[in-house]
């Protein structure tokens, strides 16, 4: 309920100061041509001249109208300037002459006019700006369809679009005068030929001048003028810091209560707001009385407020001692102009006693229009009350009161020798006041009655009878009863206000405690559980928290272990998750459920959904508890958001830790396996130098294989972990192939290598290490499966849109139809398994690496069916465009 700032800001003063040396602009605004704007302007100009002001006509289009022309006769007219344009001579307002002449007031017709190209400004309104800047006041005219912001609107119903527009800002600083004649009269003038129309546009204009169009235009003009007045008035109020409610733009406030007709009230307010294009607010004043309402009434208030929200109202609860007070405060703060209230069907007696709420509102909110609507269907004259301390009081209250009266009586008897009769009556005030303040009105009345009876019986002569002789004593009895009534009412009000304060203190304490508990927890589930428990305890209901997971919403925590969500509940919760708005019982959506679901939102995201329900399936929450609940939800959402952020950071940490571990493992495996292999290989090679033994060859070969296997295992780990870090650089395939051939020379022993790699191939963008491993494995694979002594070909070909590198062997080839399977991890096709060594990892690594680099890999049987072809395809984007240059 933020009221617009009503104190003038420094900018306001500056703006005003800047405008002080400037000329003033007055615009005669018309709905259509022919309404008499120019005439009006000239008349007013003439009046000013008569009043001794220096007036000059800058430009006026009389369109040959006699009355208009007559008006210009008495005026000094600055001659127009001839402007040559496309072989013709056009006349324009002579701005320089006008500035030179420097009158106090210049009359400049047709503000929206477009100047002849070559003029100083393209638009006449810019000329006018210059005049104003020079300190010359200006009168001008404009039609509503020339106003920029309304241009579309006008075109939409007149189907005539004008290109000459005036910015709204020009209007905003001007004083507007609407020149208005009824549409019928205008049409009449049109028929009489009094309205100027360019001949070429006559058909369009005929349509333009239909009655409905003119009415609409007129309404627009009037409304625009009113709007401008509004804005200026706001400036005025600000500049002069006037207090009080100023009827500017309308703001509508509707007061809702628990009575059955309140929906009608809200709809009525909506209609008023629509008619006035005004924002509106539905207000519920929380008074001590509303705190005593039953669940049924609270549900009704919630429904009404929901309805208002749906109809576009802002909704607010205002705590106050009385409805009138609350409304008065809110209406003034929000600068409401219209107040919609319902007339409750109260008894005449009630109104006589308390005065009508409406009467007091009208009296206390001057300047606000109060709409009074009958509350339809509000037959129940008084809502059922559900007092915490029942109206009739408690039995113990009566017992205590009786005891107190008896005590006072006996004390009075005991002290009768020193007390006068009147003072004894004073003694009886004690139980009356005590009973009224402690136990409420009825008990207080009972105390008063009992006291007066006891006083009468025991003390008033004739003693021990209930007859009263002295009329003076009747006064004592009346006083006792009166005190009972006044005291009980006073105390009950004080108590209600204390209740109000206590409630808000309790809310604050609850919020603080809640927050403390949530911040102390570091685990998401714990937080969810704490939220459920706290909310369940605070409001005495069942609570559940659902969070979105891949499979949908899942119950994260619940106050009762046996909480189960049925399809309907899940649907409602899902709706909340998706829309971020409440759903379920007591909301506007999916109300059939026993549960009410509220979103836990932070940073615009729904983090979780809270569901609440009563054990007995009644309404989950009273309307007066909603603010506290939403406060708690905000806190809960923040707590969850904090955890989410923390978890995110932990995730990053753990990924980093995992990467570090993997790197450590890989390097240690690499090192620990390689080192002994190196010794074996080198040792065998040294021995080989001295003796030639087939076993030595075997040792070398197997050690090499083991070495390759270790490499492959390490590579595979990297592929599977999805943790390939690519270091892509332009690579010459010649280098790559040569390196791979060099590194596989042992496993390819016995095979000759045919290199068919043209020297003019483009460079390719690959990670050299990964690509090397691809080639090693392809060559290794070829060496393993090719028939002994057959050549292995490495062929690179540039094709359209790609480059293909194939490794071709001669051997048993691949079983038809199973070409794809060869790339699966640990797959060695049975048909081709010739008990050669191999782990089946190699080709899977080829595939993994190749795809990581953006290549594709395929296997096929040779066309002559005498071997297999493995092809790596480099798509166009991996090829480096030949530039021919090598830089300087």
């Amino acid at each position: 309920m933020s009221a617009p700032p009503d104190r003038p800001s420094p900018e306001d003063f500056l703006r005003q100061a800047a405008q002080e040396g400037r000329g003033k602009l007055k615009i005669f605004l018309g709905a259509a041509p022919g309404v008499g704007k120019t005439f009006e302007m000239l008349s007013e100009g003439a009046a000013r001249k008569a009043a001794g002001i220096d007036v000059v006509v800058g430009v006026v289009e009389t369109h040959g109208r006699r009355e208009t022309e007559a008006l210009t006769r008495g005026q000094e007219i600055v001659p127009r300037r001839d402007m040559p344009y496309e072989g013709r001579t056009l006349q324009e307002m002579d701005l320089d002459a006008l500035l030179e002449r420097h009158p106090q007031l210049a009359l400049v017709d047709e503000l929206a006019h477009t100047n002849v190209p070559g003029s100083r400004h393209p638009k006449r309104w810019q000329d006018v700006e210059e005049l104003l800047d020079a300190g010359i006041d200006v009168f001008s005219t404009v039609n509503i369809q020339h106003i920029e912001s309304l241009n579309d609107v006008v075109a939409s119903f007149t189907r005539v679009r004008v290109r000459e527009t005036v910015p709204d800002s020009v209007l905003e600083m001007a004083e507007l005068e609407v020149v208005d004649i009824p549409p019928d009269e205008l049409i009449e003038r049109l028929k009489e030929g009094k309205v100027y129309m360019p001949a070429e546009a006559s058909r369009a204009l005929n349509h333009f001048f239909s009655k409905s169009n003119l009415s609409a235009l007129r309404e627009l003009a009037l409304r625009r003028a009113a709007q401008a007045v509004d804005a200026q008035m706001l400036d005025h109020v600000r500049a002069n810091a006037l207090g009080g409610t100023w009827a500017g733009t309308d703001r509508i406030v509707v007061a809702v209560n628990e009575l059955p007709g309140a929906e009608g009230l809200v709809r009525a307010a909506k209609r008023i707001a629509d008619a006035l294009h005004a924002p509106w607010t539905a207000v519920h004043v929380e008074t001590p009385r509303t705190r005593q309402l039953g669940p049924e009434e609270h549900r009704r208030i919630a429904t009404v407020l929901n309805l208002a929200t749906q109809l576009g109202a802002a909704v607010i609860s205002v705590p106050a001692a009385t409805v009138v007070e609350g409304l008065k405060t809110y209406v003034t703060e929000a600068r409401a102009t219209q107040l919609v209230v319902g007339k409750s069907p109260r008894s005449r007696l009630f109104e006589l006693r308390h005065g009508s709420v409406v009467d007091r509102l009208v009296r206390d909110t001057p300047g606000v229009a109060v709409h009074v609507m009958p509350l339809e269907g509000a037959t129940a004259p008084r809502p059922r009350r559900n007092r915490a301390r029942g109206a009739w009081g408690t039995r113990s209250g009566y017992l205590w009161t009786t005891a107190m009266v008896a005590g006072v009586t006996s004390a009075g008897t005991g002290l009768s020798h020193i007390l006068t009769l009147g003072n004894v009556a004073l003694l009886y005030l004690l139980p009356v006041m005590a009973a009224a303040s402690l136990f409420g009105l009825r008990t207080g009345l009972y105390a008063g009655l009992a006291s007066s009876l006891a006083y009468n019986f025991f003390f008033l002569p004739p003693v021990h009878t209930l007859t009263v002789n002295n009329p003076e004593n009747i006064v004592s009895i009346v006083v006792l009863l009166g005190v009972a009534i006044v005291t009980s009412q006073l105390t009950s009000r004080v108590r209600a206000q204390a209740d109000l304060a206590a409630t808000s203190a309790r809310s604050n304490a609850a919020l603080a405690g809640f927050l403390r508990q949530l911040t102390s927890l570091g685990d998401r589930t714990e937080v969810c559980r704490a939220i459920c428990t706290e909310i369940s305890l605070l409001f005495g209901l069942r609570a559940v928290i659902l969070e979105s997971e891949e499979t949908g919403l899942v119950v994260q925590a619940a106050s009762a272990a046996d909480t189960r969500m049925e399809t309907m509940e899940l649907a409602a919760a899902q709706w909340v998750q998706d829309t971020g708005q409440a759903a379920g019982r007591g909301s506007g959506t999916l109300t059939a459920s026993d549960w009410l679901f509220q979103p836990l939102k932070a940073g615009g995201r729904v983090l979780a959904v809270l569901g609440i329900a009563q054990d007995d399936g009644s309404d989950p929450i009273r309307s007066d508890q909603l603010p506290l609940l939403s406060g708690l939800l905000d806190q809960a959402a923040l707590a969850l958001e904090r955890l989410r952020l923390e978890a995110e950071m932990r995730d990053v940490d753990s990924v980093r830790e995992r990467d570090r571990l993997r790197a450590a493992l890989l390097s240690s495996v690499g090192h620990d396996l390689r080192t002994p292999l190196t010794s074996i290989l080198a040792g065998a090679a040294e021995l080989h130098r001295e003796i030639d033994h087939p076993l030595l060859t075997m040792i070398e070969g197997e050690a090499l294989r083991l070495n390759r296997f270790v490499s492959n295992l390490l590579d595979m780990t990297r592929v599977e972990a999805g943790a390939l870090k690519l270091k892509v650089e332009p690579t010459d395939l010649t280098d790559a192939v040569a390196a791979a051939v060099a590194d596989t020379r042992r496993s390819l022993e016995g095979h000759s290598i045919n290199l068919e790699v043209p020297p003019d191939l483009p460079l390719v963008r690959v990670d050299p290490q990964l690509f090397h491993h691809c080639l090693l494995n392809l060559l290794d694979n070829a060496g393993r499966y090719a028939d002994a002594g057959t050549p292995i070909s490495i062929r690179a070909e540039r094709r359209y849109g790609e480059l293909i590198l194939s490794v071709i062997d001669q051997g048993p080839g691949l079983p038809p139809g199973r070409e794809k399977e060869v790339f699966e991890t640990f797959r060695r096709l049975e048909g081709s398994d010739r008990a050669v060594g191999g782990t089946g990892l190699g080709l899977a690594i080829v595939k993994g690496f190749a795809e990581a680099m953006g290549m594709s890999v395929s296997a096929s049987a040779r066309s002559d069916r005498k071997g297999a072809t493995f092809a790596l395809r480099f798509p166009e984007q991996l090829l480096v465009k030949e530039s021919g240059e090598v830089g300087e």
Partner: protein, 229 residues
Amino acid sequence: MTGQRILVVDDELHIRRLLHGTLTRAAYEVIEAKTGREALALAASAHPDAILLDLGLPDRDGLELVPILLRQAKVPLLVISAREATDDKVAALDLGADDYVTKPFDGEELLARLRAALRSKVSAHGSEPIVSAGDLRIDLTNRIVTKGGTELHLTRKEFDVLGQLAMAPGRVVTHTRILAQAWPLETDRRIEYLRIVVRNLRQKLESDPASPKLIVNELGIGYRLMADA
């Protein structure tokens, strides 16, 4: 060139034993260090002529030892490391190491690299203006390249690159070093230019440009000119 003293730094007994065998067979004298600390002590006291350093040492990071050892001994240093550790090798070379061998290494290859490294120290004093590789002769002073006696026409960039390689015959020259010399101003597409120049060089120098024997690519590290020993 016998009697030169090689300091072998490796924590693995078998590797040391092996290197010992290979090196003594080639008439080098071998001293061994098991840890970084021992290596530093020996580098300072035993006056080795070259150092073979395994990067995976138990007590210290091998890379960190490279500059310290070089400062102490001012002799060629070769790094021994696993295949995958390209970054380590480049780092070691950038730190001043002369060359590297990859585990599992080949004895002959190791000796060839060691010889090349040792020679470079000699040539650093009395410079060696003419480098031969097969039938190729590169005259660094006069910027003339002949193949089988015929002079080849090389572009300026081609000679810049070849010259870089020829100044360290038989040793690896990192991309970074070549690029810094040949394309000092370019930052963007230098690797690409280098690849193209090398390809052009091979077309002119190699008997079979598809399987180069003279200018050899060292995966992810640099190029090596296979000069005559």
